[in-house]
């Protein structure tokens, strides 16, 4: 007899538990429904993102090729400029040599005329004519001006040569950009896989561009005025002159 009320009590407890469960279920169903609807909406969006990333990643090799083409083109153009600069310098040297030869010839003529002046010093008409001829041979002032101009042209062409260092610096900067694009492409490719596996957060957190070892470009190359940089370098060398090894403290002092 005692067991019957106890069993009933257990049954009622179970029924109450079931009722609680159903009530909980009633509350959860709308939430779960909303979640499923949300996921249903997200899937096409994720697929669009996936496709977009895939498309962007596929265009990157083209971008890196175009950047490499730019470097090649600038190198070719720079080489052509250097060729022309060399030709200008050679022409200036040739002109200067020619002028010097002309001056040598003119000096010989002046010497001959001087001898004539001495020989015919008592012949006023001859003296007058020879004097005029001697003055006509005296073009040294013009010659000096031409040589000065040639020197200026030579200096200017040399400055052009030095300015073309920009090609090497921009080539290194472009190589760094190419490396960055390639790194992004690799990361995006891995993202395409991970989006489908819903591991975006981890991948984004792990995305970190690192410079591999053995690169042959300087990502920090710049064409800004390096007088300050060279002065700093010279300070370090001056400080370490005569020493086997420069201490870090000494170097740090120079850079404070």
């Amino acid at each position: 007899m005692d067991t019957q009320p106890k069993n009933l009590h257990n049954v009622f407890e179970k029924i109450n538990d079931l009722k609680s469960l159903f009530r909980f279920g009633e509350r959860m169903i709308p939430i779960i429904t909303s979640l499923v609807d949300f996921m249903r909406e997200m899937v096409p969006l994720l697929e669009t993102i996936n496709h977009s990333i895939s498309e962007s990643a596929s265009k990157m090799p083209q971008a890196t090729n175009q950047i490499a083409d730019v470097t090649q083109a600038t190198e070719m153009a720079t080489t052509q400029i250097l060729d022309r600069v060399d030709e200008i310098s050679n022409s200036c040297n040739t002109i200067e040599k020619y002028l010097n030869r002309k001056e040598d010839s003119a000096q010989k003529r002046r010497d001959l005329l001087q001898n004539l002046l001495i020989r015919y010093e008592n012949e006023p008409e001859i003296v007058e004519a020879v004097t005029v001829l001697k003055e006509l041979e005296n073009g040294s002032e013009e010659r000096e001006q031409i040589i000065k101009l040639l020197g200026k042209i030579s200096d200017d062409t040399y400055q052009i040569t030095m300015a073309l260092q920009v090609q090497d610096i921009t080539a290194q900067q472009l190589a760094a950009v190419n490396h960055l694009i390639d790194s992004v492409r690799v990361k995006l490719s891995s993202l395409i896989i991970d989006i489908s596996e819903a591991q975006l957060d981890d991948q984004i957190k792990a995305a970190k561009m690192e410079m591999p070892e053995g690169v042959h470009f300087d990502p920090n190359a710049s064409y800004t005025d390096t007088a300050g940089k060279q002065d700093a370098v010279d300070s370090i060398f001056a400080a370490s002159a005569g020493q086997e090894k420069t201490s870090q403290d000494e170097i740090d002092k120079l850079f404070r």
């Binding site: 190198e75 720079t78 080489t79 250097l82 060399d86 040399y158 040569t161 030095m162 300015a163 073309l164 260092q165 920009v166 090609q167 090497d168 610096i169 080539a171 290194q172 690169v215 042959h216 470009f217 300087d218 920090n220 190359a221 710049s222 064409y223 390096t226 940089k229 060279q230 700093a232 370098v233 370090i236 060398f237 370490s240 090894k245 420069t246 870090q248 170097i251 850079f255």
Partner: protein, 126 residues
């Protein structure tokens, strides 16, 4: 002493610029190399080379590794080496110093700086 330079740079443009600068300073004797490995090959075949001007960032063998290799060679270990590079950060300069370069120029350089560094190296050798 008649100088014969080995000019090492993977950039054709930079090699021409350095060579033009050397010619402007009156140095006509030079050999070119496109990277550190090429430079070592030239050093083995041309015993007349007695001054190296090298870039840092190069494929196959970097300028820094070239310096270290040269310094470990008994026959050419004392050869003057001038580094001409875009690398200008303190750590790089220290690293080059520890590898025992004789001097260091940051690109872009002026002809005056090149002359000063070469003259300084030659003066220190005497």
């Amino acid at each position: 002493m008649a100088l014969k330079f080995l000019v090492v740079d993977d950039s054709v443009t930079m090699r021409r610029i350095v060579i033009n600068s050397l010619k402007n300073l009156g140095y006509e004797d030079y050999v070119e190399a496109a990277d550190g490995k090429d430079a070592l090959a030239k050093l083995q075949t041309d015993t007349g080379i007695n001054f190296i001007i090298t870039d840092w960032n190069m494929p196959n063998l970097s300028g820094l590794d070239l310096v270290k290799t040269v310094r470990n060679e008994a026959t050419i270990g004392k050869m003057p080496i001038l580094m001409v590079t875009t690398r200008g950060v303190k750590e790089d300069i220290i690293e080059a110093l520890q590898a025992k370069v004789n001097n260091y120029i940051v690109k872009p350089f002026t002809p005056q700086v090149l002359k000063e560094k070469i003259d300084s190296i030659l003066a220190n050798l005497q």
